[in-house]
């Protein structure tokens, strides 16, 4: 990667980069309307071979050895990977056509990632759409991983064709830049599945051959038949030993070479001994009729352990896919000023320090730069407190990763790539992934004394029998002891529980990055919540209207007027007005002193409609206002417009109402008549207030506040009010407000925090010995989430945060935080039960085996049953009990 993932200038990435809430179709409207050529130009950047070769592999060289049997139809059932295998099992590999002449165009296989696939039908639609394009030979779209493969002919098909075709259907395609990374991972998981399949299938076969041995206790079996069955069992166990056991042997061997003993070592030893003893008992022992063989126990044991490994691998793969998918984006483009003064679209990779670039409203800024001309509000949610747009003018600096929300800026590039603030922040958020939960690490530490004890015991037993003068019995007794002490239940105890819990949580919409996270969450005793977007619903709500007569009719009329004016803006206040319910228009009631409209609110966007909502009131009201003209939004101040009758209206901060824009049409009719009258209030509050003026005369004031999320109260109650804290960059007053609504003590509500303050508070709690969990949506919470013992990304979090956090809770059901916490605790209980059982089993069985009181087959059966019990106990966790 040449640079850290810098956001690009496309609407989709804006919606990803901007935090909490609704998708950025507003910015899309602004962007595509104002700059269609830039978007189209950026698509065509992908036609450059150096770009598309990053996510493509050339097939024609690989496939040159296979049978030439051209097939032109788009056949989704045949995987290009397989087709490129020169020794195809079926002997009928459709290959790229015309392999004979050296001048034929090359065939490439590219991988794409898709967005907007919500159903299985989407995959089919995409396949058909892409297959219909010229030059495309095969398409295969995978609905679950949301990726697709295209086999195409260079020269006939162009990459930009695919992207445009997909966009026409309403989806979005991105080049899979993590192509090579995923290919390797994919191969790894396929291998694992293959091993598991072998183990499972052979296990079933071996058990079938072994069942007569069990029933032979009650009836007779001829020695020939018995020997035949043993041969068959041995033969079928061979693949399991040499192939499926490989992960365990290799881990154990690697650890041994480093001088460490992990739990895999006793496990591997057990496997080898079981197999060896069984083989010896089948063929090599004198009078082998009397010996018991354990092929069935062996294969079952391998299967269960491998299943645990495979599921764990899938879990890790799932979460790493989220992170690697961030690498997928269209080539970044930006408008650069040419020496002759015109602007031309170029790839962001080619920027140089000192270049002048133009950023339009809705686009994101690709580098650290200084403003030369223009004025706009810029959303710096990555870097400062809550996502308040900041006004930028000439000589102010802007950061890479921030988004221009209004206005055009001409910038001079200062820092690029890894030097930008954004890149540094990303680097700060990288954390070393430690895979093993503490419990499993404990088991590994226990492995060494366990192993030594096991070997010692076996030798003792063997020595005893040898001394008794019965060498054969000595070997068998030693073997039995080793088999009995094989820590199968112990090894299955934790993984089975973690995986069952992970699957249960996933069904509820909670994704886990690694098993250790479950353990960390179970131990968490202090919860820090971000305020906006986590505890509260994103956006503002209109709570009160103050008019001259304070009547319901006037309030609703004024609200409608303000609504129609605000329909032209995407500001959070405008959106709150848009959503205001006119039937229950709140009247002015004793409340706060008016506050100036400040940048305390979040940036939200939504699809704009110019028509206003219908009024449902029955009593008479003035007719709705007509269309607005000369609509101007002044960043930081408000919105002004003109009605058909020549009246000028302004909606915004009280301070802005005093002076009309000099020289504008407004100035002619605007006569400022004084500040808005105070609310008949007594209780100060942090709510945002906006005022409506007409030609200088005050009409109405509107008060907005945040509303608590639906599940917030329940979640906090379940977690315990004393354990929950609020961390927020919003004002202390606003935070105290919310804390009061939930019922948290005020010392647990921290407001007006910068990111480094949040970190300090967290670190302080941790130093006091508390296990800290942080719940946030990731905007500017990144380093804080990394600092906590366990982090939960909530709601519409940034993709990067989603990938980095331990838990990702989809949707906005905050109660899942509490539910996950309880489930994690339950999981740890189950694991402890499992470990207790496994340990008890081993401890009891070992003396019995040593003294010869249990038969060998009983030992084998016991091993299998003990494993099954542990797994079944773990399966109890697949259901979440929600209080």
């Amino acid at each position: 990667m040449s640079s850290a993932p810098s956001p690009n200038n496309s609407p989709e990435s804006r919606s990803r980069a901007t935090a909490p809430i609704n998708a950025a179709t507003q910015s899309k409207a602004v962007h595509t309307h104002s700059n269609p050529s830039s978007e189209a130009a950026s698509i065509h950047l992908i036609d450059n071979p150096s770009e598309w070769q990053r996510f493509s592999v050339c097939l024609s060289e690989v496939a040159s050895a296979s049978v030439s049997n051209p097939s032109h139809t788009a056949n989704p059932n045949q995987d290009p990977d397989f087709n490129s295998n020169a020794t195809s099992l079926l002997g009928n590999a459709p290959t790229p056509n015309a392999q004979n002449t050296p001048s034929t165009p090359k065939i490439w296989e590219s991988q794409l990632a898709f967005e907007g696939m919500y159903c299985g039908g989407c995959a089919v639609l995409l396949e058909q759409t892409l297959a219909a394009l010229a030059g495309v030979q095969q398409v295969q779209v995978n609905a679950s991983s949301q990726r697709g493969k295209i086999v195409w002919q260079e020269g006939v098909s162009r990459p930009s064709d695919w992207f445009l075709a997909v966009e026409k259907m309403g989806y979005r395609a991105l080049p899979a830049r993590d192509f090579h990374l995923r290919k390797n991972q994919n191969q790894l998981s396929r291998n694992m599945l293959w091993r598991l399949g072998v183990a499972g299938f052979c296990m079933m076969q071996v058990m079938m051959y072994a069942s007569p041995e069990y029933t032979s206790l009650f009836a007779d079996i001829s020695p020939d038949a018995r020997q035949l069955l043993r041969w068959a069992s041995w033969l079928i166990s061979l693949p399991v030993l040499f192939f499926s056991c490989h992960p365990f042997f290799s881990t154990a061997w690697r650890a041994l070479r480093r001088g460490q003993v992990v739990m895999d070592l006793p496990v591997s030893l057990g496997m080898l001994i079981t197999f060896g003893v069984s083989m010896w008992g089948s063929f090599l022992a004198q009078g082998s009729a009397g010996h018991t063989v354990y092929f069935d126990s062996f294969t079952m044991f391998v299967f269960f352990l491998l299943a645990g490994r495979w599921l764990e691998l899938r879990l890790r793969e799932h979460s790493s896919a989220a992170l690697s998918s961030l690498m997928n984006r269209m080539p970044d483009s930006v408008e650069v000023r040419e020496p002759d003064g015109s602007y031309v679209v170029q790839s962001s990779q080619k920027l140089a320090i000192g270049d002048q670039i133009r950023i339009l409203a809705g686009q994101s800024i690709p580098c650290d730069a200084i403003v030369l001309e223009g004025e706009a509000e810029v959303d710096e949610s990555f870097l400062n407190g809550e996502s308040t747009p900041v006004l930028k003018q000439a000589q102010s600096t802007v950061m890479a990763g921030s988004i221009n929300t209004s206005g055009t800026l001409i910038l001079a590039v200062q820092r690029l790539g890894n030097d930008t603030q954004f890149a540094k922040m990303l680097a700060m958020m990288e954390q070393a992934a430690s895979d093993k939960p503490a419990l499993v690490a404990l088991l590994d530490r226990m492995a060494r004394p366990f192993l030594l004890a096991e070997l010692l015991l076996a030798l003792t037993v063997g020595a005893y029998w040898w001394w008794q003068g019965n060498p054969e019995q000595a070997w068998m007794a030693m073997a039995t002891v080793l088999i009995v002490t094989c820590p199968c239940a112990l090894s299955l105890a934790a993984p089975s529980a973690f995986l069952a819990a992970a699957s249960a949580l996933a069904k509820q919409g909670v994704l886990i990055k690694k098993s250790a996270a479950i353990e960390a969450l179970a131990e968490a005793d202090t919860f820090f919540f971000d305020k906006t977007g986590t505890l509260t619903e994103p956006g503002l709500r209109l709570v009160q209207v103050h008019t001259a007569q304070d009547s319901a009719a006037e309030a609703s009329a004024m609200t409608r007027l303000a609504q129609s004016l605000a329909a032209n803006s995407a500001h959070p206040i405008a959106l709150a007005l848009h959503h205001a319910d006119l039937t229950s228009a709140p009247l002015a009631a004793p409340e706060s002193a008016p506050k100036k409209q400040t940048e305390q609110t979040e940036q939200t966007e939504q699809t704009k409609q110019t028509e206003q909502s219908e009024l449902h009131k029955t009593h008479a009201s003035p007719p709705p206002p007509g269309p607005w003209s000369r609509i101007t939004e002044h960043p930081g101040l408000g919105l002004c417009a003109q009605q058909a009758n020549g009246q000028h209206y302004r909606l915004g901060a009280a301070s802005w109402m005093t002076e009309p824009s000099p020289g504008s049409a407004e100035a002619k009719t605007w006569v400022y008549q004084g500040p808005p009258p105070p609310w008949s209030s007594s209780i100060p509050s942090a709510n945002t207030v906006s005022h409506l003026y007409c030609d200088g005369a005050w009409l109405a004031s509107f008060r907005f506040s945040e509303s608590l999320g639906a599940q917030t109260q329940r979640c906090i109650d379940v977690l315990g009010k004393n354990n929950c804290h609020i961390l927020s960059g919003d004002t202390t007053q606003a935070v105290a407000d919310i804390a009061g609504q939930i019922g948290l003590p005020t010392q647990q509500a921290h407001g007006a925090l910068r990111p480094q303050d949040k970190l300090a508070i967290l670190a302080q709690a941790q130093s006091k010995g508390q296990r800290v969990a942080m719940v946030g949506d990731g905007i500017n919470d990144g380093p804080v989430l990394a600092q906590a013992h366990v982090s939960l990304a909530f709601g519409k979090a940034l993709p990067l945060t989603q990938a980095q956090a331990d838990f990702f809770i989809m949707g906005n059901r905050l109660f899942l935080v509490a539910a996950s916490h309880q489930h994690a605790r339950r999981t740890m209980r189950v694991i402890r039960q499992n470990l207790l059982w496994a340990a008890a089993y081993n401890v009891c069985m070992v003396p019995l085996a040593a003294l010869g009181w249990i038969n060998a087959w009983q030992a084998g059966l016991g091993m299998a049953l003990s494993s099954l019990l542990v797994v079944a106990n773990g399966l109890r966790l697949t259901r979440i009990q929600v209080q």
């Binding site: 989704p76 059932n77 990977d81 995978n142 399949g197 299938f201």
Partner: protein, 48 residues
């Protein structure tokens, strides 16, 4: 029970064939998107 001497080796051979088939299925990506591939027969225009 002499027939066992034919049947059991035969079944062992069969096991190896089946494992080969399993190998092919895994390597050609049959197990990667189980739900989608299963639904494929229900789609109207998809070429089979």
């Amino acid at each position: 029970m002499d027939i066992l001497f034919l049947l059991i080796p035969l079944s062992v051979c069969l096991v190896f064939f089946i494992l080969a088939g399993l190998y092919w299925a895994i390597q050609s990506g049959q197990f990667e998107d189980v739900q989608h591939e299963g639904e494929r027969i229900l789609y109207d225009d998809a070429p089979n």
